[in-house]
Amino acid sequence: MLQIKNLTKIYDGGVKALENVSFEVPDGQFLAVIGLSGSGKSTLLRCINRLIEPTSGQILWNGEDITAASVEEMRRIRRKIGMVFQHFNLVHRSKVITNVLAGRLGYVNPAWSLMNRFPKEDMEKAIQQLQRVGIADKANQRADELSGGQQQRVGIARALMQDPEMILADEPVASLDPVLAHSIMSHLEDINDKDGVTVLCSLHFLDLVHRYADRVVALNEGKLVFEGLPKDIDDKKFKEIYGREAERVG
């Protein structure tokens, strides 16, 4: 269970990215986070694994306060939270397999990983994860030689290497075409269904939300404006989330 209580983030310039956001995510749920660009979706996801330090509020995960965790505790928490990014964030010049193995960095002994040594089981596991997302044959290519859809699958394999209990997906399909978008989303759905991993996924397209999400939270200018089932987003709610001038597409 992930509980977010009164979460507020004010950036150095005084921009209020999140304002008093509270909601809960039960284990195993596929939660979509929607809202306009700049509504605080990325900030919210990054506060959960503290890539961004929240200004105030609490984030409890299975009873443990993430916001109060020490550096060492944070390493332990982060390794259970996989993250998938809009721009994939692979290390371009490294091989695909190295990018995937990087998902184990929170587990391995730092001294060994500095010499690029990973346990044998991890190597096997990396190949398995690549097989799962269907690009095992690309293992020894450089990451920047892959297409966008393939790169995002490497990103998912990297997250899977962490044995995650939760995956934070920050607009994972925003830079992909609709066909690839469905392919990537179904990988996330598969992980959610089969492995029981909680997924928090920020999305732009409502059809994807209807198709994949169990529940939706919506942000508008840093405030939580909607929390409920995807089918509950009617035209009135839609205008509330996206503003008066917004038109429904797709």
Partner: protein
């Protein structure tokens, strides 16, 4: 808009004044830089210039075996009053011979010297030999005879003011090149020195790069900015350095003493060097498990730390033994390998370097380890202790840390300037440091994270910028005093300059990397070092290679002139030849420099293309 461009007298005056000002500036510049074309027109200057340019155009690289042919022709100076004439032997038409007309002349008079049947296109001096001995080595005047394609020359010679009743001589000395060309001594010396130059640049670049890489990370703003620490942690880290260095020095020297007491028996050395690494690797396997998902009990963790400590001691023992082994082996090989003795020399020097730097390395490692351990301990304390207790600890620790920093700095000043007043260099700084520490502990909150990363960043940057502004030539002067004249001083000077300038260039590359991968690696739970290795380093490899090549170019160029101040390399020869006015020699060295710089340029561009 329309009326803005109206011509006004004021504008014209402004333009005129500006032009006048520019002229005045240039006029002053001419005076300062002593522009003087009169000098250029002077006869003497022009002749010197022609001579030097011609010498430079003929680098002293090849020479021939030479045969010297000497021909004397008798002459009376002045013409004898009794009408004596000289008997000149007949020549066959094919042998070389000289004819001087007229056969006698007054001192200061002119005679025509004509040569026939000499070797074509040679050059040689024509001199006046005073006295009546044709083999006299004393000669006066010097005119150059240049034979044409038929071996004929004709020149007009002014007779010197040496009068004699007796017959005197005019001598033509012609040198003939025979056989194949061979390298001159200058060419051989130039070769030896240019090799020295290239290796000087290579060593300086390699050592400089090795040290510049770690420095560049702590001089990169984007990596250092997130590094924040609590006051307790910082204070403990500060204290950890000097204590660790002192302890490390003692312990490593103790290990060195044990190693030395075993002696330099080559078999014991060899056995130690082979067995100890095996032990170390076994120990490491136990002490550093590859993955440790459930955290182990405190006892096991302590045992592992103890094991690591033991491993480090064993490692230093192995290093000492290795140094002893390589020194012995190198010394032996140096004498027994003959022309490959330089390999033995290399081993000997490497061993010596190990022997010298091992204690320093140990001290630094211990300092770093203790500092980081205490820092972590401090961070843990900050997180777990109650606020009031933490505040008290801060109030005690921060003044001690402040006193330590300023006290050590004061002692450095004392060492440099020998002030000799403890109030200024010991007690004063300690009191001020303690006061500053106390103030800091009072002012800031006990759990506040201080931007220590930015402090380290600023100090490093300042240090780099200050050192970078010192020319490598100036550094070489200092190192010549420290390690003596020779290429080693040049290596040290160029190496140091390489470190500081590359660290700056490198760090700018680190600052411009993509942040996405950094964020992604951090999100997996990787610690700072892992993040650097997996997200930063792959991104900076191409620019690092490119900058290293660039620096290698610069170092080759610098190493050609670092010899001017005694730093070894070809500059020494070049300067010597310029000072001796031996322009043909200097020309050979300039040619060598040009060839080396051009080929380094080519090689580095090829390598750069390959690697990126």
């Amino acid at each position: 808009m329309k009326n803005n461009k109206k011509a006004s007298p004021w504008n014209s005056i402004k333009v005129g004044l500006t032009a006048l000002l520019v002229m005045v500036v240039f006029a002053y510049g001419f005076q300062i830089t002593k522009v003087n074309l009169e000098e250029l027109r002077s006869e003497n200057r022009q002749q010197s210039l022609i001579r030097v340019t011609r010498a430079l155009a003929k680098p002293d690289i090849f020479e021939y075996e030479q045969e010297v042919e000497v021909f004397n022709y008798p002459i009376y100076v002045p013409c004898p009053t009794d009408g004596r004439t000289i008997e000149v032997s007949e020549h066959s038409a094919s042998e070389p011979y000289l004819v001087v007309t007229p056969a006698c002349a007054d001192p200061g008079g002119e005679v025509q010297v004509e040569g026939f049947n000499f070797a074509p296109n040679t050059i040689g001096p024509v001199r006046f030999i005073p006295g009546n001995d044709p083999n006299n080595v004393v000669s006066l005047g010097r005119d150059n005879a240049e034979t044409d394609g038929d071996g004929h020359f004709l020149l007009t010679m002014t007779l010197p003011n040496r009068t004699s009743e007796d017959v005197q001589f005019i001598r033509a000395t012609l040198r003939l090149n025979v056989g194949a060309p061979r390298f001159t001594q200058t060419a051989k010396d130039t070769w030896a020195k240019i090799v020295e130059t290239v290796f000087l640049a290579l060593l300086a670049t390699v050592f400089g790069t090795m040290l510049a890489i770690p420095l560049s990370f702590i001089a990169a703003r984007n990596l250092m900015k997130p590094v924040k620490s609590s006051l307790a942690s910082i204070s403990l880290s500060v204290l950890g350095w000097p204590i660790g260095i002192a302890l490390g020095f003692i312990v490593v020297n103790w290990v060195g003493g044990i190693s030395a007491s075993i002696g330099s028996n080559i078999w014991i050395n060899l056995a130690s060097v082979v067995i100890v690494p095996v032990l170390i690797s076994l120990g490491i396997r136990w002490a550093l498990p590859e993955e440790e998902i459930p955290a182990q009990s405190l006892l096991i963790r302590l045992a592992r730390i103890g094991m690591l400590f033991l491993i480090v001691l064993l490692g230093f023992y192995a290093l000492f033994q290795l140094a002893s082994l390589t020194i012995t082996a190198g010394g032996t090989l140096q004498t027994s390998l003959g022309s490959f003795g330089f390999l033995g020399y290399f081993l000997f020097q490497v061993g010596d370097i190990f022997a010298i730097i091992t204690p320093a390395l140990g001290a630094l490692a211990a300092g770093g380890a203790l500092s980081s351990f205490l820092g972590r301990f401090g961070q843990l304390g900050t997180e777990k202790l109650p606020l009031a207790g933490l505040k008290t600890i801060n109030l005690i620790l921060a003044p001690i840390a402040g006193a330590t920093i300023l006290g050590l700095l004061g002692q450095l000043v004392e060492w440099l300037y020998q002030i000799g007043i403890p109030a200024y260099t010991l007690w004063g700084p300690i009191i001020v440091g303690a006061a500053l520490g106390l103030l800091l502990a009072i002012v800031i909150g006990a759990k506040d994270a201080l931007p220590i990363g930015m402090v380290i960043y600023s100090v490093t940057r300042t240090f780099l910028n200050a050192l970078r502004s010192v020319e490598a030539l100036v550094m070489a002067i200092v190192f010549v005093i420290a390690v003596g004249i020779g290429p080693f001083a040049g290596v040290m000077a160029l190496g140091l300059h390489t470190i500081v300038s590359l660290a700056k260039l490198y760090s700018e590359q680190v600052e411009s990397i993509m942040t996405g991968p950094l964020e992604a690696i951090e999100a997996t739970g990787a610690n700072r070092l892992q993040t650097i290795i997996y997200a930063v380093i792959p991104q900076i490899v191409p620019p690092y290679i490119s900058y290293t090549m660039y620096r290698w170019d610069i170092n080759v160029r610098m190493s050609t002139i670092i010899g001017f101040v005694g730093g070894g390399g070809i500059g020494f020869l070049l300067q010597q030849n310029i000072n001796l006015l031996n322009y043909r020699g200097a020309s050979a060295q300039m040619l060598a420099i040009a060839v080396v710089v051009a080929s380094m340029d080519y090689i580095s561009s090829v390598l750069r293309e390959r690697t990126i």
